[in-house]
Each structure stands twice: as structure tokens, then as C-alpha cells.
Amino acid sequence: MVRIQFIPLLLAFSLAACASNQAASPTYADDNDPYEGFNRKMFAVNMSLDRHILKPVAKGYLTVPQPVRASVRNFRNNLISPVTLSNDTMQGSWSRAGVSASRLLINTTVGVLGLFDPATAMGLPRHTEDFGQTLAVYDVPEGAYMYVPLLGPGPPRDVVGLIVDTGLNPITHMGDNEAEGAALSFAVGGVDARANNLDVIDEIERSSVDFYASVRSLYRQNRESEIRNGETDLDELPDLGELDNN
């Protein structure tokens, strides 16, 4: 859900995703991928699904005028923003929770039920939080890297997070059938993110010596960054001068 926006670069093959390693920065951790053989097979499945379903649908979606797509995205972002607000609160990030609450209020009213995003222009830019990140903040380990069909990268901590966030997502509970609501939110977010990043994803695939490993690295690094809310811990950076001595 919320995680669908976290790094559109990864959505070539995954409709949604989430996870990380918070004990050690992935920058210097190993690949944490004991089930690589299985994961590569699942990756191939998702690549095939992407090629035959998601990518053609995303290309078709791009024919919808940009302002309409922007409104669909704004509307969905606003509907699912209680997920971020809940996780801001659970993490004790009160100022970020304030931003999320203000955005929800402003965009629902001034932004005409969320079709527009005046809050960003008012200095309240959007951020996302999800339950996978909340677990990480409370030192729950990531678990082994896993690649799940349809979902994409999904270490245990993030799969649990996704389940909880699906329950927190208002769209899940809007229709008669909760599964349909969850699937709708998932699919709309996935297609939109895929459509916005067609060129970027193709370029990464074309330029990588090992696309599977690149995706794993992109995912783990991005999740680490999300858990830290984009902040860099300078204490964790290595002494680059040592690289000159070898």
C-alpha cells in the first residue's frame, strides 16, 4: 500500500514492496540472501508477469491525460494516508504525525476530497511510513531477504508490515469485500508507479550486470534509508582513505 510509492524504481516486477536491515547498514552487510536460488526463480516469475501484464497495462495507463493521473494518485494517497499517520504515531514521530494529520485535513477539504494536493504547496510535503518501518524502529530484525511472486522483495518483517498496513488501509474496508478493496488499492498504486517509471526501470535493467542483485541492493538500501527517514549516519561511513592503501 503505502510502500508502493517508496521506490518506484523497484516496481518493474513487483506491484508493491517493503523491508530492510536495521541492525547493520546494508552498505556493509552481506547480501542476506540465503534462499537466492528460490528467490531468483520467483524473480523470473515476476519479470514474466511484468512483461506480459503490468508493463502493457502501465503503458496503456500513460494514455490517460497527466492531470487525471495526478488526481487519481492524489486521491489514493489521501485515502491511504491514515496508514502513514498511524505508523508515525506508533513510532512516536509526533512532528511527522502532525504533518500527516494536517495534510489529510487540508487535502480532504481544500483539495476537494483529496483530488488535489495543496498541502505540499503549503510546505507540508508528503512522506510515507509503514508497519515494516515501525517494526524496524522497535529493533525487530529484518529476516532473510525473500522475493515473493506479485509482491516483489518481501523479507518477513515487511510481509508482516504489509498485512498490518492492509488492515489499516481505509480502502480495504470501503466495499463489501475487503479482499477486493485491498487488491484494488494494491493494483492502482502498482500500475501508477510502474507507469511513472517505465524508462527508469528499463534503463536500470539495461545497465546492470546482474539485474536481480541490483534490485536486491536497491530495495535493501532504500528501505534502510526510509527507516532512517532519509537521514545519513555519518558515523557509519567508512574511512575511504583505507581504499587507497591496498
Binding site: 545497465s207 534502510e224 555519518l234
Partner: protein
């Protein structure tokens, strides 16, 4: 008595030195921001003025030569394996990595020629400097966070070490994918070199449109 004098002088010395250090750090962090601004200006100028792939690649090659320590980046992206190969293989690897980076970034950055880079905060710890920036779009698209990792060389100048796009360090991503190729090819450096050559030949992509 000597100890007593030392106890008196030490806080005074530290007290005088601390603001000087803080000033130096602030000045260096400011210089780091200037380095990033200049580098970004150079890149944007290339994207705006060079309309052929060859022109853009030549421009990026010049930037890398002048502003990055490629030997260090090559060492990093090869990880511990860098110590296990011959000097000749390492030289070949470094040259291929250089070409790969030029081709990849001439392409990846091609779409950003008309956008604006806004440089934000600069932080440092010892010789590492992180400068935050973001690419801003005028079509309402959300800005893209771009962080720069600079290293202060012995002569006080800065060199570019890595760039982080939406939370992902690019050199780290290269290192991870190279490590995977080596792991799956019994640590055979020639397999990695062959993979990189293949990507260089395929990685040129389409001619820039801007």
C-alpha cells in the same frame, strides 16, 4: 605544580581551539556545497548543450576525470576482491568501470536536463562530507532526493565518491551487483569483465532527445 598548570591551561586551549575547528568545519561544509553546485552546473550544461550521445559521454568523462577519484571508486566497487587480482586486471577493470559509469549516467541523467538542482544541507565527519540536494520539477512532480558523498583529499580538495538517489547509493549498488556476478562465477574476474563489457556495448541506449 606542573600538573596544576596543565589543568588550568588545557581547558583554555581547548576553549580557544574548539571555535576555530568549528569554523574550519563550517567553511569546509560550505566549500563542499560549492563543489556540488559547480559539478551539477557542469552536468546540466552538458545535458543542455550536447545533443549527441558522444558529446554527452565526452562531457561526463571530463567531469569524472576532474572531480572523482576513480581508482578509489574502483577499489570500493570491487570490494575485498580488489586485493586478490593482478594489477593488470585491476587496471582493465577500472577502465571498464569508468566507461560503464559514463555510458550509464549520460543516459540516466539525460531526462533531467531542464530541471533544477537545489542544494541543501552539508554535513561532515572527518573527511567524509554528505551534501543533500533535490531535483525539482516544474510540472508538479515530487522532487527527487539526491545526496552527494564527497571526500576531502590530503591537499584539501574534494573528490566525488558516490551519489545517492532516493536512498540508494549508486557505487554500493554496483558493488553488490559485481559481487553477485563474482559469487556466481567462482570468483572469476574475467567473467565480471566480460559482463561489464557486454553492458557497455548494450548500455548506450537511445540517442538523447533533448
Amino acid at each position: 605544580m606542573r600538573l596544576f598548570a596543565f589543568a588550568l591551561i588545557l581547558p583554555l586551549a581547548v576553549g580557544l581551539a574548539a571555535p576555530a575547528c568549528a569554523d574550519d568545519t563550517q567553511a569546509d561544509e560550505k566549500r563542499a556545497k560549492t563543489f556540488v553546485t559547480e559539478l551539477a552546473d557542469e552536468a546540466i550544461t552538458i545535458l543542455k548543450t550536447q545533443t549527441t550521445r558522444e558529446g554527452r559521454e565526452a562531457g561526463f568523462r571530463k567531469i569524472l576525470d576532474e572531480r572523482a577519484n576513480m581508482r578509489r571508486i574502483a577499489r570500493f566497487t570491487l570490494g575485498p576482491f580488489a586485493r586478490k587480482i593482478s594489477d593488470e586486471d585491476f587496471a582493465t577493470y577500472q577502465q571498464l568501470l569508468n566507461e560503464l559509469i559514463i555510458k550509464v549516467y549520460a543516459n540516466r541523467l539525460g531526462q533531467y536536463g531542464n530541471e533544477q538542482l537545489v542544494v541543501g544541507r552539508s554535513q561532515s565527519k572527518k573527511k567524509n562530507f554528505i551534501v543533500n540536494s533535490q531535483i525539482e520539477f516544474d510540472n508538479g512532480r515530487q522532487p527527487i532526493a539526491l545526496d552527494w558523498w564527497l571526500y576531502r583529499e590530503k591537499d584539501g580538495s574534494f573528490s566525488l565518491f558516490d551519489v545517492r538517489v532516493i536512498g540508494v547509493w549508486m557505487a554500493q549498488e554496483q558493488r553488490d551487483s559485481f559481487a553477485s556476478v563474482l559469487k556466481n562465477n567462482r570468483s572469476d574476474i574475467s567473467a565480471l569483465l566480460s559482463h561489464i563489457r557486454k553492458q557497455i556495448n548494450a548500455g548506450g541506449g537511445a540517442e538523447p532527445t533533448g
